[in-house]
Structures are given as structure tokens and as C-alpha cells.
Symmetry: C3
Subunit: 206 residues, 3 copies
């Protein structure tokens, strides 16, 4: 794994840990509960990916730096974020969007590096990108982000397709990673800012 | 894996994908969200089974046909089912019952073919049969089918026991599969139609 | 695995199966549904642990005694607990606390015996201890125990740290197991009895 990807991966871990810690704060959890929710959010998606791929022990068991990044993020969150008013309204969704974009390309990269096909790479990017936030939302009994009509899974799928396409077209790995990450992030942030949504499949009984 | 079992497995994938897509429609999800919920429903149970057995990478990573069947099912659902009124009331539970019956025997067959005992085969059938629908219901914040008193886990457990018994009694695999599938399906459909239920274990405080 | 640990593990399986069966009774599930919820609670945490570690097939597939203990516990529960009034109010949380303490040390022991570091051992203890109850609460649509401010994850983390420390300080395995289990159990029971809680991280908007 190149230095770049490793750095991206730790950044994604930190922003998802932040999003989990903020969600924990909204539910008035104690410090150890905050650690648990931050961890589940930060390493949940990658853990599901590795368990499905059979690349076990999963990544954070092999490399303790992931847990250390989570503990440091939680510590900093607990120290510096003390009042709800100090947390801008969009902090949680923006942290979640950054993590989504970073983990999507990491997951797709991992699948391609194992010799798997492009379609599976997109799915692995999606699982890595949305898995942790999904578990966070389930535990918090929130409507999972993935279930809302705002473009969410869509951003991850587009990021995964961009990465896979760029690699197939011969782009250098770093370029493909950066481009795909930016495209997923742009789509998701635009959706948050302007409340963009695709036409819904609507079978709701009225 | 024989042709028959493979065909059954793809049929189960399609009906569970349909049940996931219909659930997504009831929650007004966008097309990519529909794909995600259909996929989770269709391959969730088998993925848990394979991860627990250690037969990784899990089945749909090794054989992309499963994802293709899901994408085709979602596409057809989006094209042909446009209005809630056009979906008969029982479509979702009947699709779910078909998937339950098909995946139960597939899961039990897989366990026996790995040399595991009859009891584990019944459990593997149950996990394969109910796992995907359980994740679907959790994400949709519905009471999970498995938690309702209508005969649900029961149908899967009877199907698994029928299959295991038939094999131990020397039946050909195809016969055992067909019989067990029909018995699980009959039990579940009868429970839906006549609201059958076993006596409940009732500790509810009144 | 020593006889002691194996005995502890089966005890933890029984008390978690009991907690799952009681939760099922509160939701008026039928007998097969009770078996499913008891099983998920009793073997859910260890299954996640084994899938993440890659020690597959997971423990209860290799050793059918776990399923047998669950079935026996469910049978006894269904026979002897017939009325809500006969279940003392604290039965479910106390059974859950016992299971939490037992499974925490089992999970930590397993990680150390695989040569993993102390931090990962604490995490594995936590996953083994809280995983099953988390799935139980999600399926029952209860606020997960782990999300409440009462000391829960904290008890498991302290148990895991105690065990790891005792082993590193040269204690015999049985002594370390007993001490760590007692410390986790004491912390959790004290928290239940006196409603102890750590200061919460509070970002709740008012």
C-alpha cells in the first residue's frame, strides 16, 4: 500500500471517528461509549469489506495505528468540543461526506489490487464508504443516511466508477484516487448544500 | 454445485432483490438507494453465512452473476412498477416467502456439502434464509419479520430440518431440495394467508 | 482452551441465551423466534470476533455444544418462566451483565492466545462482550444498552484492561480471568444498582 493511500485511509478514519463522536454527543453518551461509537463508525465499513473478502485478520487488527487515530480523535473531540453551539450545523454531514469519499476509493483500490473485477471494486468501495455510517445510524436509531433520498449511495457509486474507469484508462493510481475522491466528495457536498436529489422510486401508499 | 441449485440460488436472489426494491419504493429511495437495499436483501444472508463458514471471498465476489441478476431485477422493477396501486398487497411478503424457502435449502445444502452436521445445516439454512430480510427491515426501521409472531423463522427451520432429514434418509439431492423448499414455502404462505401463529411466549407486562 | 475457560464460555452462552429469551418473551415471539433471538444474543458477539480475526469456521460451527446449551436454556426458560410477574425486574440486566463480564474475558483471552497485542485484546473482549446484546437490542428496536449513559462499554473495557494487565504482570491465566471477570461484573452491577454513570459528552441541542 502506497504512502498516499495509507495517509488517505488514516484521514478517513479520523473524520468518520469525528462523525461517530459527534453522534455520540448528541445522544449524551459517556466517554467510553463515545469511543465505541467512533470506532464502529470509523472501522465498521472496512471490517465488513475485509470479512467478505476473507483478508483476515481485518486491517485494524494487523495495524494498531487505526485504533490509535480513533482514540486521539475522540480525545481531541472531548477536549475541544464542549458545547452544542460550537458545533456548526453541517459538521457531522461534512465529516461523513469526507469519510465517504475517502473510504470509497480506498475500498475500490483494495479490490482492484486483489485482482477483482471493476463491478466488484465499485461494490467494495460502496461497502467501505457507507458501512460504518450505516452501523452508526442503526445504533443511534436515526434514519440511516443511505435511506434518505439525498444523493448518498449515488456519490459513493460514482466515486467507485470514476476510480475504476480511470485505472482502466491507464491513469496513475494517485491521480485516479485523487480524481475519484474529489468527484464523490463534490457530488455529496453539492447534494448537502442544495438538497439535490434524484427522482425517487415512489411506492408510498398515500 | 449442480445446475439446479445454481438456478434456485439465482431465483432466490431475484425475488429477494424484488422484495428489497419494493421496500425501497415504500421509503421513496432514489435509484441507487434502491440498488443498495435490493442488494443487501438479496446477498446479505448468504454473505453472513459465508463469512461465518470462512468460505471467503463470499459467493457473489467469486461469481458476478449475482450482482447482475440484482441489477436486472432492479431495472425491471423500476421500469414496470410505477404506481403503488399496481403492486398487489401481498407482493412483498410473497416474494420474501419465496426467497426464504429457496435460500433456506441452499444454505443447508452448502453446510452439508462442507461435511458439517445436520444441526449446523439447519442453522446455516436459517441464516441464509432470514439474514438478508433482517438487514432490509433494520435499515427500513420496520419491525423485523423475524420478530413478528407469524410463522417465519419456524418455516425456515422446518425447511432446513426437512432437507437434512431427506438427505439422511437417502433421497437424491434434487428431490430433497424440492421437497424442503415446497414445505417451507407452504408453511410460510399458509401463515400469511390465514394469519397462523404458534402460541407465543408472552412476558409482556400489561 | 483450558477446561475453566470452556466452562466460563458455556456459562456466558447460557446467560446471554436467557437474556435473549426474556427479551423475546417481552415481544411475544413464538418458540422458534425465541430460539433465534436467544441464539443471536448468545453467539453474535463471538461470531463477529471470529469473523474479524479470520478464525473460521466460527466457534459454534466447530463445536455444536454451544447450540445445544442455547436450545436447553430456551427450553428451560419456556417451561419454568410462564408469567411476567415471576420474572424479577432485574433478571434481564443481571443476566446481560454476567454474560458481558464472562464474554469480555473470553474474547480478550482469545486475542492474547493468538499473539495479538494488549490493545487489540481489549477491543476483542469488548466486541465479544457487547456484540450479541447489541444485535438483540437492534432486532427488538430497543435503545441499545451500549447507547445508554449507564456504565456498560466502560465495564467491558475495564474488564479487558484488567485481564491484559494481569497477564502482562505474570498472573496465572485462571487468576487473571477470575479477577477481570469479577471486576467487570462488579462495575456493571454497581452501575445497575445505583444508576451510576460517568459524566456524559453532551452535544444535545435543547
Amino acid at each position: 500500500m502506497s504512502h498516499w493511500i495509507y495517509f488517505f485511509d488514516l484521514c478517513g478514519t479520523a473524520v468518520f471517528a469525528l462523525s461517530g463522536a459527534l453522534a455520540a454527543g448528541r445522544h449524551r453518551m459517556d466517554p467510553f461509549g463515545v469511543i465505541v461509537l467512533a470506532s464502529v463508525t470509523a472501522i465498521g465499513g472496512g471490517s465488513i469489506r475485509d470479512a467478505l473478502l476473507g483478508t483476515t485478520p481485518v486491517f485494524w487488527i494487523r495495524d494498531p495505528n487505526y485504533i490509535i487515530v480513533i482514540l486521539a480523535t475522540v480525545l481531541l473531540t472531548l477536549i475541544f468540543i464542549r458545547k452544542p453551539k460550537k458545533v456548526p450545523q453541517y459538521t457531522l454531514p461534512v465529516a461523513d461526506a469526507l469519510g465517504l469519499a475517502l473510504f470509497t476509493v480506498i475500498g475500490a483500490e483494495k479490490a482492484l489490487s486483489l485482482g477483482l473485477g471493476g463491478m466488484i471494486a465499485v461494490v467494495m468501495g460502496l461497502i467501505t464508504g457507507v458501512g460504518g455510517g450505516m452501523i452508526r445510524d442503526l445504533l443511534c436509531r436515526q434514519v440511516p443516511m443511505i435511506m434518505r433520498t439525498e444523493i448518498y449511495a449515488t456519490a459513493s457509486i460514482f466515486g467507485g466508477i470514476s476510480y475504476t474507469l480511470a485505472i482502466h484508462l491507464g491513469a496513475a493510481n494517485e491521480i485516479a484516487l485523487g480524481l475519484a475522491m474529489l468527484s464523490a466528495l463534490t457530488i455529496r457536498l453539492a447534494a448537502i448544500k442544495w438538497h439535490l436529489r434524484l427522482p425517487a422510486f415512489d411506492l408510498k401508499k398515500t
